[in-house]
Symmetry: C2
DNA sequence: GTTTGTGAAACGATTCACAGCT
DNA sequence: AGCTGTGAATCGTTTCACAAAC
């Protein structure tokens, strides 16, 4: 498969979200322009994004909403469920696990790890918190597809190394630092302080 | 000021983070190459990013760490504190407010709003939760610089409209939808489902 | 007449490469 | 000799524009 830009993949996710809305409203067919309008982009962008993966529309008509939903789910790999492991059961970690939306979209938290003995043994969102020292034992038995890393920054890299060693290929990282991983492992870092600083920049330098 | 790419601003934030680390270790001087290595980019990128704002280095020597820290704080607008209002005191909202790191970096949560009467009146991170109906009254009296929006998606747009009307120019949005705002308002959306889906895409389409 | 799919053009960001300073 | 600052070259993404399909 040809290399697809990250920005394209993100837009495809957005399109899927909007299409699901339209589907819920019983809309059968949609044009690239209408889909673009809902997502703040252009019709050409929508068509180009889709064209990397095939031809899904009918000229003169637009796209069948259910067909395009199906196609996007296929493209994005959302026709299956993913087993997600959470490392770090602090405030943000527990908020994530208890969020209904992720499960609904096929991301199932199946294991939770923490270093704090007070947290180990507790249940969060129906999953028992394990000691992070059990990471290898537990994920070795029941592997996860995706790891969500919410440890303090000083532990993040060493946990990431262990996850990589366990064969995990996808990490969602909330620790405010750049993780070093092999090329075949994908890391998405969510750095909230960075987002706030970008907002500060815009306040300090209004256009 | 010339238009600066978002990616550049984000890298400047990262550089600042690394420089603060170096400063803490008593390192006086750093080359673009060393700074780049720490942040997964290239020396040319570092120099180009900085060049948009001036010349901060000494040829043959590199950059003075404290001077560059100071310059970046100035550029990013981090020499002052920002008043942040939180709308939505659910799991994620309260996790954010109680996070020490934001205050340390100059982002002070000064007001919290929620719709749930059970939450109104409670304290979170030393701030009393107010009824979201008091948004105008409260922020009218004590304005905020930045709003962090963590409401359910169906309320997000109407709250955003009210924030815009109150004169807020910066919104950090956690609701999983595209907010419509005037051009002079900056919105950064953190969409965690989107990040997970991008990871799913990479699992489904390994390179 | 409408809307797609797609090469080509325009734009923007990154990388190169080197003159110029220390 | 070492490293910056920057114009030029390269690379990647977005927009344009139009032939082809319905």
């Amino acid at each position: 498969m040809r290399k697809i830009a990250d920005s394209t993949v993100r837009r495809l996710s957005l399109y899927l979200r909007f299409l699901e809305e339209f589907e819920g409203q019983g809309i059968e067919t949609i044009s690239s322009g209408a889909l673009a309008g809902r997502g703040g982009t252009t019709s050409a962008q929508v068509r180009k994004d889709l064209s990397f993966f095939g031809s899904f529309g009918k000229r003169g008509l637009g796209y069948s909403v259910p067909e395009l939903v199906q196609a996007l789910r296929q493209i994005l790999g959302l026709t299956r469920h993913y087993r997600v492991a959470l490392i770090g059961a602090g405030k943000i970690g527990s908020a994530l696990v208890q969020n209904r939306g992720f499960r609904r979209r096929g991301f199932d938290f199946v294991a939770i790890f923490d270093r704090d003995p007070a947290k180990v043994g507790q249940e969060l969102g129906g999953v028992r918190v394990e000691d992070v020292r059990q990471l290898e034992a537990s994920l070795g038995r029941n592997p996860a597809d995706i790891a969500v890393l919410v440890t303090p920054p000083e532990e993040a890299q060493s946990v990431a190394d262990r996850l990589v060693h366990l064969g995990i290929k996808s990490i969602l990282n909330f620790a405010p630092l750049q993780l070093a991983v092999p090329a075949d492992v994908t890391v998405k870092t969510v750095n909230l302080a960075l987002e706030l600083e970008a907002l500060a920049y815009h306040l300090a330098n209004p256009t």
